[in-house]
């Protein structure tokens, strides 16, 4: 079970459909790996369902329902074929992110950038970008900051910086005011999905958007 979770407001933006696609994919990846946040997202969606029922209805086109009823016997468009992945990729990369991978983890043509190998993913993100990162066990990333808000979710291995020790499913969030020098755990490679989103802002002076859940 992950220890670092997205904030409730991020889960709310996710369930309300207000996040950019890449950020939504990152939250959905965490939600796949975290039953608690999955339950919380379901609760927030239930609020959406209840609000739909309290909304002021608007008039429908007069022939709208008849048109829909005529279409009930049509066959719906076949869903897009789901690409197949090897067992390792299916085990490590949850479905919401896997759909954007384009192939198996071991076939990815990583670009080396110092201690970090990375690849850009074709996920929409206005004013930002989405990458898969891979660090060798024990690798040290030079101290750096980010343009905008960066969210990282760990898929394999782990890393530490001054804010904590992050393992599979954990979400780390750093604003442009944060500089950090993450170090990968010794052992297996650390694989992460990282999104920079210019549309999300931080509130506190600490610049942290994640919070450890306080359970009641």
């Amino acid at each position: 079970m992950p220890s670092f979770h997205p904030s409730q407001t991020l889960l709310m933006d996710y369930a309300a459909g207000s996040l950019g696609e890449a950020s939504a994919v990152l939250i959905a990846t965490h939600v796949s790996l975290c039953p608690e946040c999955r339950a919380e997202a379901a609760r927030i969606e239930a609020v959406g369902g209840a609000l739909i029922e309290t909304i002021e209805p608007v008039p429908l086109a007069h022939d709208g329902m008849a048109a829909v009823l005529r279409k009930l016997d049509e066959r719906p468009d076949a869903p897009a074929p789901i690409p197949s992945f090897d067992a390792e990729t299916q085990r490590l990369v949850p479905a919401p992110l896997r759909r954007h991978l384009g192939g198996n983890l071991e076939d990815i043509r990583w670009r080396s950038l110092g201690a970090v190998r990375q690849i850009d993913l074709a996920v929409t993100q206005a004013g930002g970008h989405a990458r898969l990162l891979r660090l060798k066990g024990g690798a040290k990333v030079p101290r750096h900051s980010h343009d905008g808000l960066e969210m990282i979710i760990v898929l394999a291995g782990g890393f530490s910086d001054q804010s904590g020790h992050y393992l599979r499913g954990d979400v780390a969030v750093a604003g442009s005011d944060i500089t950090h020098a993450p170090v990968a755990d010794a052992g297996e490679d650390c694989i992460c999905f990282a999104v920079v989103d210019g549309s999300i802002k931080l509130s506190g002076p600490l610049g942290r958007l994640v919070n450890l859940f306080v359970r009641t």
């Binding site: 379901a42 209805p57 608007v58 329902m65 048109a67 549309s199």
Partner: protein, 232 residues
């Protein structure tokens, strides 16, 4: 500008008859905990007659099991005007909202077999279909849905399942709890769901500190959770 929002006062009684099993309970709670609702304005009634005797759940079952067109038509008359209102608030014009509503309701028909009442209430399930349709059509993106049979998915611990889903299953109780929220909290929930804006943008436009928006949303969700615990 921060749009001012109020809960339409006639909405609850219109929505109530949809789940008869809970009507009595909900009505009791309404008497005690809520200001008396106004009668529905004359215009709303012909638009959206709530499915009377049958519950949304049994309509869904009739659609899934028997492909019952009458059941679908009743579900349509109730939900379509509400989905259309939602889609218009989130940026579609009348024509596009009508089109997306029709597509969303067709999806309800096609996918009725995958509706699982143990996972979500009917209105919640239909809400997520409309939300995903909006993202697909207005933003040309895809909502990243969770796959239940995903090999990577970490399953729920068996003990927590009941309590985690308590809120999800009971739409009627949730509506009552929502109506009892302090107005400033209810308003932020409305803004979060009905404006195409992240909480950061909402904070900017309402002139509220971001921290205040976050804490109000957190308080609102916490309170809903507690209210529903008290019910159980």
């Amino acid at each position: 500008m921060c749009p001012s929002l109020t809960m339409p006062s006639h909405a609850v009684p219109l929505a109530m008859p949809i789940i008869p099993g809970l009507v009595a309970l909900a009505a009791l709670a309404l008497d005690g905990a809520m200001p008396k609702s106004q009668p529905a304005p004359p215009m709303a009634a012909p638009l959206s007659p709530a499915p009377d005797a049958a519950s949304a759940l049994s309509l869904m079952a009739a659609i899934a099991e028997r492909r019952d067109r009458d059941a679908f038509a009743r579900l349509y008359l109730y939900f379509a005007p509400r989905l259309k209102a939602y889609l218009m608030r989130r940026g579609a014009d009348d024509g596009l909202a009508e089109e997306m509503t029709q597509e969303a309701m067709l999806t309800v028909w096609y996918r009725a077999g995958s509706f699982d009442p143990a996972k979500a209430g009917v209105s919640t399930w239909i809400y997520t279909i409309a939300r995903n349709k909006r993202i697909d059509r207005l933003r040309r993106e895809r909502f990243p849905e969770i796959e239940r049979d995903d090999p990577a998915l970490v399953p729920e611990p068996p003990i927590a399942a009941d309590s985690a889903l308590a809120l999800v299953q009971d739409d009627a109780r949730l509506r009552v709890a929502l109506a009892a929220l302090p107005p400033e909290q209810a308003e932020l929930l409305h803004l979060a769901f009905f404006q195409d804006k992240s909480h950061s943008t909402i904070a900017d436009e309402c002139g509220l500190p971001l921290g205040t928006v976050k804490s109000r949303i957190r308080l609102a969700l916490q309170r809903l959770r507690n209210d529903l615990k008290d019910f159980a």
